[in-house]
């Protein structure tokens, strides 16, 4: 993990409008020196708008953005853009050689030819595509092209690297290999990076911190574990995969152990909330285990709910089971478990989960 001390980029009260409609509104966001900030959100959330604004390719309607304490306006857009690197979803290589593509940004900066050659060779090597140096860029595969695109950005040795879903168009094996290499490269270089993605796995792997952008608004920023297990609100919970979100009220509290009533049932949870507080209960599907209706042995799972299976949705090696327990409850189990238990729709089962698996959002 990189050290998180000095903010390199700061955003305050940023508003971007399109056709009179606000498409992005960020009150405050900073990027620390050396960190990887993963910005996650669904399509249309304003992620790319944020990246283009930070790259000074889209003017904001209001707000202050500072790079190393200097506001945007303190230098020309060209000068600012020569301090950053930008990688878009598609590699967008020009119809010249691989070398020519990686050299392009360096040539724009009028760097000496010798230095250009050195940098290009170095970064083609570090991205594992040195052997493609003389190949025409349009003849590359998707994975090779994205490696060249990354080499092109890294070769600039930018102060700040912006990436907009660079792996989303790749097939799964290529994406996995490239992600691993890219992760290693980020760790080796300590490159300050803002990484846009809608893929939660990528955010978990790469992000030192995660920012959740929903409907143009920044809803939560924090460590990945924090965001994924303790979402700030119902929408964030839904986006990060917390599929069971129900309203409830704290009815008892003692030494951090809570009893929360929801849909006429009482559930054990952990937290520091007063009695009477209205809350949203959030539960991740992988934290729920299923048992035959009366077959649950003694265990540490404080919550046991009887219910009936409404839907069984196969998802590769896993099976998503939607139950009705007074409220809809989703469990994610392996296909082998589902087969062993001979689960069918309409079957009565018992769901169990620990008090600590419940995340409470005060309302």
């Amino acid at each position: 993990m990189s050290s998180l001390t000095e903010p390199i980029l700061e955003i305050r009260d940023l508003v971007v409008k399109r056709g009179g409609r606000t498409v992005l509104s960020v009150e405050h966001l900073d990027v620390q020196q050396g960190e990887v900030l993963a910005v996650i959100g669904p399509n249309g959330a304003g992620k790319s708008t944020l990246l283009l604004t930070l790259s000074r390719l889209l003017p904001p309607d209001q707000g202050v953005i500072t790079l190393r304490g200097q506001p945007f306006e303190a230098e020309s857009a060209l000068s600012y853009r020569r301090r950053i690197g930008l990688v878009l979803q598609d590699p967008l290589l020009l119809d010249v050689s691989v070398f020519g593509n990686v050299a392009m940004g360096l040539r724009f900066r009028n760097l000496p030819r010798k230095l250009v050659t050195e940098r290009v060779n170095e970064w083609l090597g570090r991205l594992g595509v040195a052997h493609l140096k003389d190949r025409r860029a349009h003849a590359l595969s998707g994975g090779e092209a994205q490696r060249v695109s990354l080499a092109r950005a890294f070769a600039l040795q930018p102060e700040l690297l912006f990436l907009d879903e660079p792996f989303s168009a790749l097939d799964a094996p290529t994406r996995t290999r490239l992600l691993e290499d890219f992760h290693a490269l980020l760790q080796a270089t300590s490159m300050t990076t803002v990484f846009i993605t809608h893929d939660l796995d990528e955010a978990l792997l790469l992000g030192d911190r995660v920012a959740v952008l929903l409907q143009g608004r920044l809803r939560q920023v924090g460590r990945p574990q924090e965001v994924f297990t303790a979402p700030a609100d119902r929408d964030v919970a839904a986006f990060v995969g917390v599929e069971t979100v129900v309203a409830g009220q704290v009815v008892a509290a003692q030494e951090g152990q809570l009893i929360v009533e929801t849909s006429g049932m009482q559930l054990a949870a952990v937290g520091d909330l007063p009695v009477g507080k209205e809350v949203m209960l959030c539960l991740r599907p992988e934290d729920v285990t299923l048992w035959p209706e009366d077959g649950l042995p003694l265990s540490s799972a404080r919550n046991r709910l009887k219910g009936r299976i409404e839907r069984i949705i196969p998802q590769g090696p896993l099976v998503r089971v939607v139950m009705e327990c007074g409220f809809p409850l989703v469990a994610l189990i392996t296909r082998a478990s589902a087969q062993e238990m001979e689960l069918v729709e309409g079957q009565a089962v018992t769901a169990a989960f620990k008090a600590s698996a419940i995340h409470l959002i005060p309302r």
Binding site: L52, R81, L92, L94, D95, R136, F162
Partner: protein, 233 residues
């Protein structure tokens, strides 16, 4: 059939005996159309780029005007250039009527919309995100435009070929503003018209063949440059 063979025979004789008048006509054709195409390129390349990349009010309307201009009838161009350059016209004092300069102006007016329209189309067919990527790589506005021209070099060369093709083959405007004056403003197309009107079909066919050969050689050179750029590396 005899007439056609005679024409071909005449053409070969005229070409290989280096007939002075034919060479003068051919060189003038090349000079006038080449100059007109080059000026069209100087106007059409930046104008087409501005229309393709710019975002301003009236852009669509301007593009539609340019596209209409691609089908501008040469005789209409000839008429308006004549009106302007006529002795009593607004530019009559320049004394350009019935000179190669007038022919260059008329041909430039014909070729410029072709080069402009095809330049705009060439650049518009590029991925619009390419501009963002180039700017994101630290390109200045001029460096970005240069890189986009380079990327669209094949269709841009096609635009140049289309521009040259539209003027080397036109006759109406050249006839009207040049006057088809022997040794002064006679070019291959106007000479072909004259020989045909005199019933000298053999000579007319010969001139027509030379015109075709000329157009072919220029386009062959441009195609060679174009396809060199298209070969896989």
């Amino acid at each position: 059939m005899e007439l056609i063979w005679e024409g071909i025979r005449n053409a070969v004789i005229l070409l290989f005996t280096f007939n002075a008048e034919v060479i003068q006509i051919t060189l003038l054709s090349l000079q006038v159309s080449g100059m007109a195409t080059m000026i069209s390129l100087l106007i059409g390349l930046p104008l087409g780029t501005w229309l393709a990349l710019g975002r301003f009010w009236g852009r669509g309307f301007t593009l539609s005007l340019i596209n209409t201009g691609m089908a501008l009838p040469p005789v209409v161009v000839g008429l308006w250039v004549s009106i302007f350059l006529w002795r009593s016209g607004p530019l009559g004092d320049l004394g350009w009527m019935y000179t190669p300069t007038a022919m260059v102006i008329a041909q430039m007016i014909i070729a410029a919309p072709v080069v402009t329209g095809l330049t705009a189309a060439s650049l518009q067919q590029l991925d619009p995100r390419l501009q963002l990527q180039l700017l994101g790589l630290g390109a200045s506005r001029n460096q970005m435009v240069w890189a986009l021209w380079r990327e669209a070099r094949l269709p841009l060369l096609a635009a140049l070929m289309a521009g040259f093709g539209s003027v080397i083959s036109e006759v109406g405007a050249s006839m009207m503003v040049g006057g088809n004056i022997r040794f002064q403003t006679r070019v291959l197309t106007t000479a072909t018209v004259l020989e045909t009107s005199k019933g000298e079909f053999g000579m007319a066919i010969a001139l027509g063949l030379i015109l075709l050969l000329l157009a072919y050689l220029v386009n062959l050179a441009l195609t060679w440059i174009q396809q060199r750029g298209a070969q896989p590396g």
